[in-house]
Structures are given as structure tokens and as C-alpha cells.
């Protein structure tokens, strides 16, 4: 072991990473677990008994489950057929459609909720219109709003995965099916879709978990409809009747549900994944009839219109005058003036926090990925692989509560500082950054590193001169996505923020949920946030092209 420590600096790096991550990721969760089994009269499972007998908690659990499942089913219904026709047929503007779907997958998470309330809320623009046509529409606010919005913000997750699985199927498998007499529809049902099933299942899992853990959407469009993230937030922050123990207990239940779903997904995907010869050949898309092409294009167009309705609504209403919570048709810059008069500090603050967290994500994620992919240590590699994936199953709200409990005493007093926000962002997107680096690393053949070792480069030198430049495009892509998700983070931010460390998302959230407030300032800030998301994305796509950088797809 001594000689290994000397010749392989990665052993020491792995140990440090493992200890550090265990402390930052696992340790706060232990605090939540401890809180959930404590009571004024001593430790026990009393809180869990209460959770599973008290209607309030049971109802929220059930609501969370059914709304997420319904949203997932709806999202799959939008995503899978669209992915299939785009993968298999020649469609005009295909590249444009693909990048727009990718773009919509990184919308700020509460953008949809805000916009659909503006459109279809009790006094919404479309609601009034519908009523004036004699359609008795009241409001989208409530569970149906949650399902509708979650479906539209999570369908791109399914779409991108299914599209990718479909285009990477070896075309000779489908040709073989047709050669034995199956027509296009039979081939789709008996060959293409079964082979894409792991992609479909993984996409559905991602959609389900995103909906289940989402806090912003149900908070804004739920209209008080209790789901677990909102309940946990309430239990944690409410000044009257708030209960940290029940918030912790509910948190553990959420983590347990996420874990169970993850295990189920892994089990299903493992059973449905077939070892296949990957072929460098890509199938040539078929040409549909003129009518077929028109219908497919129209359909894709419709999906995109609905996906981007929120962006448009927010952009337009940010320039309209609001009075008493109702948008008017008067053009104004008042919303932006009010935004500027409140404070513009949240804009650089968001960039700073998300930027620093992303930098850490990329550095730590790459190191972790390297240990997992290349250094097949008997204990350290699988251990790191597990620890780095834990944040995937921790909803943002729960992560926030864990950090507050774990780091609220000296010498580790982070609660109330900017560091705790940065830490939360870092932890949340670490799995993402690690996975991005991992897939980039799988593209680097081990012999390229061995070649460097054989001409005299040390392991760290090899990493710097050979590995790093080769995985850079993949890491830039992963880092960009992590940054975009960090800058729009809300679930843990609402738990952790305190003045003066206010982010753009906090401004939007406060203005969109405060009683009696209108959406004017929220819309204006959302426009700023959208610009902060899409401009960097555009720049990376534009200047990364040709170096293999392709964000999203």
C-alpha cells in the first residue's frame, strides 16, 4: 500500500474526495434522520406513526404521488411519439426543433407555473377570453395546474433520451425486421420501441422525479393544494404550528420514495437493456408522404408553441401594466423600474453563486469521474460512485433543511451565509457534472494515457496534458448545463436564503407568491433570468461548435 500511495497520487485524492463528500452529502442527511426520530420525550418512531396516521401528511404524500405519476404519463404521451417521428422521418427544420426542445428543457422551473397562472388563473387573460365565449372555465390553479405544468416542463427530459436511443439503434436491426416481412409499423412496435425502452424508462423516471421533487411549481400554481415539498417547506418555515421534527420526518419519507423509485427504475432498465453491437452507421430517415410530413411538422410546431408559451407570456406581460393582480393591456416599463428600485444586486449574486458552485462541480465531478472510470479501486471507486449519486435522490427542499441543521453551529456556522447557498448548488448538480465527465472519459481510450506514461509523463502530468484537453468539450457542455440549472435553482434556495444573499429566483418567488403581489416584478426578473440562461447557452453553442461542443442533444 505504501508504494501505491507514492506512485499513484489518485489514491490520496480519492480518499480526500470520499471523506469530503461524505461529510457534505451524507452527514446532513444523518441529522435529518436523527431529527425525525427525536421527540420531547425521547427517541422513537412516534413521528413516523404520526405521519402515516395523520390525514394531513398522508394526503400530501398521496397528492404528490398521483400528480407526479399523471404528469409523467402526460409528458411521455407528448414526448415518445414526437421523438419517434423525428428520429425516423425526414422533417423540415429538424435541427431547429431539436435545439428548441433542448432549450425548453432548461427553462427556469417556475416559469411555467407563473405564465400559466397569468394565462389561465382566475383572472387570467385566456380565462376571461374563454368565459366571454361562454365556456365556463374558472381557473387552472390547483392539482390540474400542477399536472399540466409539470408535464410540459418535464417532457423534454423524456424526449431527448428517447430520441437519442432511437437514432443510435443499429439500422441493420430494423432492416432485418423489414427483410423478414414486417412493415414499418410492425418494425416500430416489435424492434425499435423495445430497443428504445431503456431510454423511455429512464426518461420517465427523470420526469417523475423532477415532478415529485419540484417545489416552485406546486407552490405557485397549486393554490394551497398540499404536496410533500410544499408541506415540508411549510412545516419548516411556518412560524405558527411549524415543526422541524415533522418536516424532517416528511423529508425522510420523500427520500425513501425517491430511493424506491430509483431502485425500481434500475431494476426495470437492467432487465430491458440488451447488449448490442453498436454501429457507427446511422439510419437514413424515411420520407413521409406530403400529408404525413405536414401533419408531423404541424404537430411538432404545436408542441413547441405550448412549450414556449410561458416564455412569451412572461416577456410580454413584463412590459404590461398590472393593477390589483390583474394584467392590463397598457404598455409600461414600470415593472423594470420597480425591479431596479428594489435592488439589482440579486443579478450578480446569482451569477456569483451559480458560477462558483458550477466551477466546484466541474472540478470535483471530473476528479470523481476519473476515479470511477479509470482507477478501478476495489473499495474507493464504487464508494465514490455511490456517494456522488446520492444528491440525485434528495429533493432540493430536503437538501436545504439538512444543510441548515448540520451547519448551524460554530465552528461550522454556514447557515445564513452565501456559502450555504453555494454549497447547496454544488451538491445538487454534482451528480450531473460527474456523469458528464464520466461519459467524456469513456471516449478517451486508456491506451492514450498509457502512451503518455510510457514516454515518461507522471499520472498527474498525463491527466493535465492528455486527459484534460480531450475531455474538455464534454466538460464545458456539462458545466454549462449545470450552471443553467444552478442559476435557476429554487427548491433549496427558498429554505437557505437570507438577506443580503438574495438570488434572482428568490425575487421571482417572493413576488409571485406574496399575498396581494402582482406578477409584474416577477415577470421582469424572469425575463432577466431567461436572458442569463439563454445567452450563455447561445455563446457556448456558437463558439463551441467545431470543437465538438453541443449542448443538450
Amino acid at each position: 500500500m505504501r508504494s501505491k500511495l507514492l506512485t499513484d497520487p489518485w489514491v490520496l485524492i480519492s480518499v480526500l474526495l470520499l471523506v469530503g463528500l461524505a461529510f457534505l452529502v451524507v452527514y446532513p442527511q444523518l441529522w435529518i434522520a436523527r431529527e425525525s426520530v427525536s421527540s420531547p420525550t425521547g427517541a422513537g418512531i412516534g413521528n413516523y406513526i404520526r405521519f402515516f396516521t395523520d390525514q394531513k401528511f398522508l394526503q400530501a404524500l398521496w397528492n404528490s404521488v398521483w400528480t407526479s405519476l399523471l404528469a409523467m404519463a402526460f409528458a411521455a404521451l407528448i414526448a415518445v411519439p414526437l421523438a419517434y417521428v423525428l428520429a425516423k422521418y425526414e422533417v423540415p427544420f429538424k435541427a431547429g426543433i431539436l435545439s428548441l426542445v433542448t432549450m425548453s428543457s432548461i427553462s427556469p422551473p417556475f416559469l411555467g407555473a407563473c405564465a400559466w397562472v397569468i394565462l389561465l388563473g382566475r383572472f387570467g387573460i385566456l380565462s376571461e377570453l374563454l368565459r366571454s365565449w361562454g365556456i365556463p372555465f374558472t381557473t387552472i390553479v390547483g392539482p390540474r395546474g400542477i399536472v399540466w405544468v409539470e408535464a410540459w416542463i418535464t417532457f423534454p427530459l423524456i424526449f431527448l433520451l428517447v430520441y437519442d436511443s432511437l437514432v443510435s439503434i443499429d439500422p441493420s436491426l430494423e432492416e432485418a425486421s423489414m427483410s423478414v416481412g414486417a412493415n414499418r409499423r410492425q418494425t416500430a412496435l416489435s424492434v425499435s420501441l423495445p430497443l428504445a425502452l431503456p431510454g423511455i424508462l429512464t426518461g420517465c423516471y427523470l420526469s417523475l422525479m423532477a415532478a415529485f421533487a419540484d417545489f416552485g411549481t406546486p407552490m405557485i400554481i397549486g393554490g394551497g393544494f398540499p404536496v410533500l415539498p410544499v408541506l415540508v417547506y411549510g412545516e419548516f418555515l411556518s412560524e405558527v404550528g411549524g415543526d422541524l421534527r415533522m418536516a424532517s420526518t416528511s423529508s425522510i419519507v420523500m427520500v425513501a420514495v425517491s430511493t424506491a423509485v430509483l431502485l425500481l427504475q434500475r431494476y426495470l432498465v437492467a432487465r430491458k437493456t440488451y447488449a448490442s453491437i453498436t454501429s457507427p452507421r446511422r439510419a437514413t430517415p424515411a420520407r413521409a408522404s406530403r400529408l404525413g410530413t405536414a401533419l408531423i411538422t404541424l404537430w411538432a410546431f404545436l408542441v413547441l408553441v405550448i412549450s414556449f408559451t410561458p416564455h412569451l407570456v412572461v416577456l410580454v406581460t413584463s412590459f404590461l401594466k398590472w393593477s390589483f393582480g390583474i394584467v392590463t393591456s397598457t404598455f409600461t416599463l414600470a415593472n423594470y423600474k420597480r425591479l431596479a428600485s428594489q435592488s439589482l444586486l440579486p443579478i450578480p449574486m446569482s451569477f456569483f453563486l451559480a458560477g462558483l458552485a458550477t466551477l466546484l462541480d466541474v472540478l470535483v465531478g471530473t476528479a470523481v469521474a476519473y476515479v470511477i472510470v479509470r482507477k478501478k479501486y476495489r473499495f474507493l471507486s464504487p464508494a465514490l460512485n455511490s456517494v456522488v449519486m446520492i444528491p440525485y435522490i434528495i429533493p432540493g427542499t430536503v437538501l436545504g433543511i439538512g444543510l441548515i441543521i448540520a451547519f448551524n453551529t460554530k465552528p461550522l456556522l454556514l447557515t445564513g451565509t452565501w456559502m450555504i447557498l453555494c454549497l447547496a448548488y454544488f451538491i445538487r448538480k454534482l451528480p450531473f457534472a460527474a456523469k458528464a465527465a464520466e461519459s467524456a472519459l469513456y471516449q478517451v481510450h486508456p491506451s492514450l494515457e498509457e502512451a503518455a506514461l510510457s514516454v515518461g509523463a507522471t499520472p498527474l502530468r498525463t491527466f493535465k496534458d492528455v486527459v484534460a484537453p480531450m475531455i474538455l468539450p464534454g466538460i464545458v457542455t456539462g458545466g454549462t448545463m449545470a450552471f443553467l440549472m444552478n442559476i435557476t435553482e429554487i427548491s433549496s434556495t427558498v429554505i437557505l436564503y437570507s438577506a443580503p444573499w438574495i438570488t434572482m429566483t428568490v425575487v421571482i418567488f417572493v413576488n409571485a407568491t406574496m399575498a396581494g403581489s402582482d406578477f409584474g416584478v416577477a415577470s421582469a426578473m424572469t425575463v432577466v433570468l431567461m436572458a442569463s440562461v439563454y445567452i450563455p447557452l447561445y455563446l457556448v453553442n456558437r463558439f463551441g461548435r467545431g470543437k465538438g461542443v453541443q449542448v443538450g442533444a
Partner: protein, 364 residues
């Protein structure tokens, strides 16, 4: 390809492997391998895939650590020296050129690590690229080169550092047949002129026979036989070597008092009296004989030669034919025997022929 090599020749060293063992999880990849490679020798590790030959090469390079045993390069024990301090040249099957560097940078990288000044680096790279016939290609990136050119760059990258030993891991297996033959001749003459000790891994027996000074035939993690190409081909020690290297007919038989090899109810071959006198085989001993096709004479006159047979199959090979002959036993009760023979005349399946075995080797 050879200008200015003499003043750049390296001092050849020997490589000694003692008791090398390698266990991956529960499978034994190498089991007590002992080899002595002489200075300046072109030594080939030959064997089927999974026999451990690549693992052995990677142990010499330091990419793998042996579970037991020692590796000596020259008089230095290198087991505990990491690969980057071993000064060993390694050429990979997939070339392993760094795609983000030019040809020049690929070759220069090791020199830069050694902090040579710019002029020296340029001179050395020029020398190495000239050696492999790629002068003037230095500004290209690997993606713009053909497979054969890429492998030459990889060889230049290894040679530019004047390694004490050059290790080549199936360097030609990704090239097409014609280029493979050309390139192996070039590698061989390059090695000869530089006088460098080379270890070469391949599963292609023809390649091994053509370019090696000596060959170690490996099977299931063990060395079956070490010898010159002639020794390996003409006197295989084991049935595995006989069958893996070249074509062979294997026959089980007994040595009779009359000094013949008897299989079934036939006397196939009469051993020379010197062999019987040497005591290498005893009368009554059960043996396995390996017979090369070109050591079997075939005649279309069915009674010209001592063994009678019938042609079963004829394979046309361009310059000659290979015929499978079923030798008739005296009684129907003994199962017939088939032999592979080389024959230059034309003969059709079903023809009655006679054959004679001119030489054979007894194998384990």
C-alpha cells in the same frame, strides 16, 4: 528509412522475467513465466487471444503489476519502478496517438517532458520521423493520417526517446493484409539497424515466424516453448505448438521393437536408427506424432509409396494444393486415419493415392 542511424544506435540490454504470475480477481492470467530475452534480440510472444501475452508485455511496461515474480531490464530490477520512469518504448495496437496534438507534438511530447531545448527537440523529432519515412508530415494531426502512417508515428514516438527496450503490442493487427506484410519487414529492419531489444506480441504465427529471432509460444498463461522460428516449426515440443504454428496432422501411436510408429494396424513411419539409439523414446511407449504437410509425399500411383489412401478434400492455395488423404487401415475394424499433405500436382477428391511420411516430431 535509414539515414544517420548508426551514430544514434542504442546500447542493447537484456530482459529477464522470473516466476511471473498474474491473477485478475480469480482468474490466473499468467502462471510462473520465466523468460530470458537477449540484448538486441527480436523476441516474439505468440499465442491465441487470452493466452496472457499482452498481459506479460504490459507487466514489462509497468502498466500492470505482477502478482509474483521479478522483471529485470539490464541489471536493474524494475518491478517497483512506475512506467514513466522505466524508459521503455511501447507501441499500441490502436496506435494511441493523442488526437489533440499534431504529429510533431505527439513525437516531441516525451522530449519536452525531459526538458530538452527547442532545437534539440526539433532535431530529434526530425530524426525519428525520417526513420519511419514520415518526414514532412509533422504538421498534420493524427486524424488526417492513414492507419499505417499513424502506426509509424507511434513507432517514432517510442523510438525518439532511445528506449532501452521496445515493446510492440499487436501493432499491425488493424492494418490490411498487404500493408501488414510491408510494415512488419520495415519494423524488423529498423530494429536490426538500431540494435534495440524488441518484444513483439502477436497471434499471427506467420508474422512471428518471419520477423523473430526467437519466439515464445504461450497458451493459457504459460510458455509452451521458446525457440528460433525453425525450432518452433520443425521441432514443436507440444501438441499445442505443433497445431498453433502452421498446419499439422496429429497421430496417436506406439513405438514398436522394429523402430516404427504404429497407429492402429499400420506402420506409419520408421524412425532413423540414431533416434532409437538416443533413448529419447522407448519401445512400447505411447506417443503423439505431429507431421507437417510438406513432410508427407503424395503419389498418384496408388502403389508407389508404402501407405495407401484416398483423397477426401483438395484445397487450392494458388501456388500449391493441400490435400486431405484418408489412409486405409488393413482391417475395417480400426478407424481410418486422415493426414494433411502438401501436393503440387492436380488431383481430384476420391482419387486413390499412396503417401509416405518423411519426417515427424514427437510432441507432448
Amino acid at each position: 528509412m535509414s539515414k544517420g542511424i548508426s551514430q544514434n544506435a542504442v546500447t542493447p540490454v537484456d530482459v529477464t522475467l522470473t516466476g511471473i504470475k498474474k491473477v485478475f480477481n480469480d482468474t490466473v492470467a499468467l502462471d510462473d513465466v520465466n523468460l530470458q530475452i537477449r540484448p538486441g534480440e527480436f523476441f516474439t510472444l505468440l499465442g491465441p487471444s487470452g493466452c496472457g501475452k499482452t498481459t506479460l508485455l504490459r507487466i514489462i511496461a509497468g502498466f500492470e503489476k505482477p502478482s509474483a515474480g521479478t522483471v529485470m531490464v539490464g541489471d536493474k530490477r524494475v518491478d517497483d519502478i512506475p512506467p514513466w520512469d522505466r524508459n521503455i518504448g511501447f507501441v499500441f495496437q490502436n496506435y494511441a496517438l493523442w488526437p489533440h496534438m499534431t504529429v510533431f507534438s505527439n513525437v516531441a511530447y516525451g522530449l519536452r517532458l525531459r526538458r530538452l531545448d527547442r532545437r534539440q527537440i526539433e532535431e530529434q523529432v526530425e530524426w525519428a520521423l525520417g526513420l519511419v519515412g514520415l518526414s514532412g508530415m509533422s504538421k498534420r494531426v493524427p486524424g488526417q493520417l492513414s492507419g499505417g502512417q499513424q502506426q509509424r508515428v507511434a513507432i517514432a514516438r517510442a523510438l525518439v526517446l532511445r528506449p532501452s527496450v521496445l515493446l510492440l503490442d499487436e501493432p499491425l493487427s488493424n492494418l490490411d493484409a498487404k500493408l501488414r506484410i510491408e510494415t512488419r519487414k520495415e519494423i524488423r529492419s529498423l530494429q536490426r539497424e538500431l540494435g534495440i531489444t524488441a518484444l513483439y506480441v502477436t497471434h499471427d504465427q506467420e508474422e512471428a515466424l518471419e520477423i523473430s529471432d526467437r519466439i515464445a509460444v504461450m497458451n493459457k498463461g504459460q510458455v509452451e516453448q521458446v525457440g528460433t522460428p525453425e525450432e518452433i516449426y520443425d521441432s514443436p515440443l507440444t501438441r499445442f505448438v505443433a497445431e498453433f504454428v502452421g498446419l499439422t496432422s496429429t497421430v496417436h501411436g506406439v513405438i514398436t521393437e522394429r523402430g516404427t510408429l504404429r497407429a492402429g494396424d499400420l506402420d506409419l513411419y520408421t524412425f532413423p536408427s540414431s533416434f532409437m539409439a538416443s533413448g529419447l523414446a522407448a519401445v512400447g511407449e505411447e506417443v503423439i506424432a505431429a507431421i507437417r504437410p510438406e513432410k508427407i509425399r503424395v503419389s498418384e500411383d496408388a502403389s508407389a509409396l508404402p501407405l495407401k489412401g484416398k483423397v477426401e478434400e483438395v484445397t487450392y492455395l494458388g501456388s500449391s494444393r493441400r490435400v486431405k488423404v484418408q489412409i486405409a487401415s488393413r482391417s475395417a475394424a480400426t478407424p481410418p486415419l486422415t493426414l494433411l499433405a502438401a501436393y503440387s500436382g492436380t488431383v481430384k477428391p476420391g482419387a486413390e493415392v499412396s503417401v509416405e511420411i518423411e519426417a515427424l516430431s514427437l510432441v507432448r
